[in-house]
């Protein structure tokens, strides 16, 4: 069969050195009580943590120094990402900017956008949201109807975005909009813009999620002006830009480590002498986990070589998020403890917390149904 590329990767010594560094940073953070391990690490929005992480050099790691980066390798960044997740660090404020918006601007943004924005992201002071989905186009992204019309010196955006995480507390959104009317080729005529959320003509309406949290928003653009040099790439390149951005978004450790803290708490709750069934299931989940980590690090290696493994990234996300969904389902069978939002038992709360977030794991960043279509194309079935 056409084999997808998942070459073995041995992390180089400088990556392991970086692991020691980030572990020391996180240890000190916890020892001094600056944070307690969160069960949804990369969705936990904590600007103060982001600033401290930036100061220690853990944001914008791979970017050139002239833009505030550290000129580290993708593999060094990979190690920092996985250690942050393993430690339950509250990296939600800077996560999107660091993972995908920043790299997108660095690669395809204007020089002014780079100089204006990248150093602020790297300083942990500037956060991003993703403006892709719309009320009538979620999985079917090419059906986007938000429009950008050319005017003197820039573009005027009209339309609505939805499921925009953190729109109410980030500084910028990267918005996908039609710069040409819909034609036979649905992927043509789309463009990406960096939109300042403090601009005139933006209205943000909160949407509460089922766990009671406010991350989602609906964002209305009414004649919102964006300068020319805040377009990413050239007009009409939006579809290519979006798919490239998703390769960064899909294969990272954040696609199988969302509920690692529940596993850690499960192990502590069970104690040193598990019964046979507990040992078998923990062993099984660990085998899945360790394998996913290999697959994810392999993609980091491909990114490091400048490749864009779009299909492989889709595959890792599909397998990884299926695992994330399975963890709470499996865990609940191993101890007779009911999930509760306010039980005195921390573990009971952890189960409740993860259960209520789990449905999002296989939706955000592309559903399995979309990913499997991409994989099938890679297999020569479409």
């Amino acid at each position: 069969m056409h084999a997808f590329r998942f070459e073995s990767l041995t992390l180089p010594p400088e990556a392991e050195e970086m692991r020691r560094k980030v572990r020391a940073f996180l240890q000190e953070e916890r020892d001094t009580g600056r944070y307690a391990a969160h069960r949804t690490s990369w969705s936990t929005f904590d600007p103060e943590f982001s600033k401290r992480a930036a100061k220690a050099g853990f944001i914008g790691m791979t970017w050139p120094k002239q833009y505030g980066g550290g000129e580290y390798s993708n593999l060094q960044r990979f190690v920092v990402t996985e250690e942050m997740l393993a430690a339950g660090a509250p990296g939600g404020a800077h996560w999107i900017a660091d993972r995908q918006s920043g790299p997108q601007i660095l690669k395809h943004g204007s020089e002014r956008a780079r100089q204006l924005i990248l150093p602020k992201i790297a300083a942990g002071e500037c956060y991003f949201g993703i403006g892709m989905s719309e009320p009538d186009s979620g999985s079917d992204l090419a059906a986007a109807r938000t429009k950008a019309d050319k005017v003197e010196g820039g573009w005027v955006i009209n339309g609505t975005k939805i499921w925009t995480s953190n729109a109410h507390r980030v500084h910028y959104l990267i918005v996908l909009a039609r710069t040409e009317p819909l034609s036979e080729n649905r992927h043509a005529g789309l463009s990406q813009f960096i939109v300042d959320t403090s601009s005139e003509g933006i209205e943000i309406r909160p949407i509460m999620n089922l766990s009671g949290g406010h991350e989602f928003n609906e964002v209305f653009f009414k004649s919102c002006f964006v300068p020319d040099d805040m377009m990413i790439g050239k007009p009409g390149e939006g579809w290519t830009r979006v798919t490239g951005e998703l390769a960064f978004e899909r294969a990272g450790p954040d696609r199988f480590m969302s509920d690692i803290r529940l596993l850690v708490e499960l192990v502590d709750k069970i104690g040193r002498e598990p019964n046979e069934r507990q040992a078998v299931e923990i062993g099984r989940l660990a085998a899945h986990f360790a394998t996913l980590r290999r697959m994810s690090s392999s993609i980091a290696g491909l990114l490091e070589r400048g490749e864009s493994p779009v299909t492989e990234a889709a595959l890792v996300k599909d397998v990884g998020t299926a695992f994330e969904r399975e963890v709470p389902e499996m865990v609940r069978k191993l101890l007779p403890i009911e999930a509760s939002l306010d039980d005195d038992d921390e573990y009971s709360q952890a189960m409740a917390h993860v259960l209520l977030h789990a449905p999002s794991f296989t939706i955000r960043g592309g559903t399995p149904e979309i990913l499997r279509g991409m994989i099938a194309r890679g297999l020569g079935l479409r």
Binding site: M1, A3, F4, F6, E7, S8, T10, E16, R19, E82, A86, I260, L263, V264, E265, L266, V267, D268, I270, G271, R272, E273, P274, E276, Q278, A279, V280, E281, I282, G283, R284, A286, A287, H288, F289, A290, T291, L292, R293, R294, M295, S298, L315, D318, V319, A322, E369, L371, R372, G373, I375, A376, G378, L379, G380, L381, R382
Partner: protein, 363 residues
């Protein structure tokens, strides 16, 4: 060097394709040992692939050897090639000379013990090993046995000296005999102190490591069959590959296959594929689960056709169902991993899986 490995693999692949067809596989199903295939593999030096050059082997790098085993399984080689590769690697590591002919490994079952008592002329063995691959037909068994003081030895045992009372086959129809080594006399040159790599878990990680690579090769064969079939079989006016339901089944199977391959790759970071017992435990567990899923999904794609003797899919799937059970089925390895994790506590979970094997220890 990379070119050399490619040539080795290509040649082996051609050899397997040349010597293995439906006739050979049906004959093997009926219990026939294929001399022609074994001689061809031996002439090509494949059984000595993992033996260092200075000891008379091919000295293949572990990743090339792993790929060689995967290709042999892709073609459903119905002989103990992988067992012989590992047996020779271990025997020469213990200080022995390479062994000519096919060699099987025993004991296979984690609960079986073979004991050794030395005497003036050599030693005597006691004990039964269950489910030994080609336990009668392979001329030699490499047996791990321990004496009354707990010292472990590798023994080169002509299988003709042991008893096998009942013919037993796995679901691939391959012989898996219960072999009684009771009373077998060994000459002094036929047993050697076992190398240190066998200290913790005996032969288990080594046997499991070859089954892991075999499962990956077998899964690739199933995927190949299923992808071709989906593109050829027309129903409702179009190839079934065009139906989303089929596409999603094969995408899921591809995910299992990719995960299994990644887990199997982890074993190529040590010289003999089975040296890192934790990595073997993870891989045997993950590959065993994938093997079941891939076999089921690929059968489903083939419909009734895949359930026949005529279609060759069953040569691959029946081996997958056998290999996942042998040398410890998933739960046996999973329990080991789980106990190791619980022993360390929650904070140990991440470092155990991430930090280099030196600190991870043996399963």
């Amino acid at each position: 060097m990379e070119d050399m490995s490619a040539i080795v693999l290509e040649q082996a692949d051609r050899l397997f394709a040349q010597h293995i067809d439906k006739k050979v596989l049906s004959a093997a199903d009926a219990g026939q040992w294929s001399d022609a295939l074994w001689s061809a593999m031996e002439d090509a030096g494949l059984p000595l692939a993992l033996v260092p050059e200075m000891k008379g082997g091919a000295g293949l790098a572990p990743d090339v050897a792993a790929n060689l085993i995967r290709r042999s399984a892709f073609h459903s080689v119905p002989l103990p090639l992988a067992e012989t590769m590992i047996a020779n690697a271990l025997w020469t590591d213990a200080g022995g000379e390479v062994i000519a002919g096919a060699v099987t490994l025993a004991p296979v079952n984690p609960h079986d013990r073979i004991t050794l008592a030395s005497n003036r002329t050599g030693a005597t063995l006691q004990g039964i090993a269950r489910h030994v691959a080609w336990g009668k037909q392979a001329p030699i068994a490499l047996v791990l046995a321990s004496d009354a003081n707990g010292n472990a030895f590798l023994c080169r045992v002509p299988t003709g000296k042991a008893r096998s009372n009942k013919t037993r086959r796995n679901v691939a129809y391959e012989p898996r005999e219960d072999v009684d080594f009771g009373g077998v006399q060994l000459a002094a040159s036929d047993f050697l102190p076992a190398p240190a790599c066998l200290d913790a878990d005996g032969l288990m990680p080594f046997g499991a490591a070859i089954r892991v690579q075999q499962m990956i090769g077998g899964m690739e064969r199933c995927m190949d069959y299923a992808l071709s079939y989906a593109n050829e079989r027309v129903q409702f006016g179009r190839p079934i590959a065009k139906f989303q339901a089929i596409q999603h089944m094969l995408a899921i199977a591809a995910g299992h296959f990719a995960a299994a391959s990644a887990a199997g790759d982890a074993l190529t970071e040590t010289p003999r594929l089975g040296d890192n017992a934790l990595a073997v435990a993870i891989a045997k567990s993950r590959c065993g689960e994938s093997a079941g899923q891939v076999a089921a999904l690929c059968h489903q794609v083939h419909g009734a056709m895949g359930f026949t003797q005529e279609h060759p899919l069953h040569y691959a799937t029946r081996r997958l169902w056998s290999w996942r059970d042998e040398w410890g089925a998933e739960p046996w390895w999973q329990e080991k991993i789980g106990r190791m994790i619980c022993e360390q506590g929650g904070d140990g979970f991440w470092p155990l899986l991430v930090d280099p094997p030196a600190t991870a220890g043996a399963a």
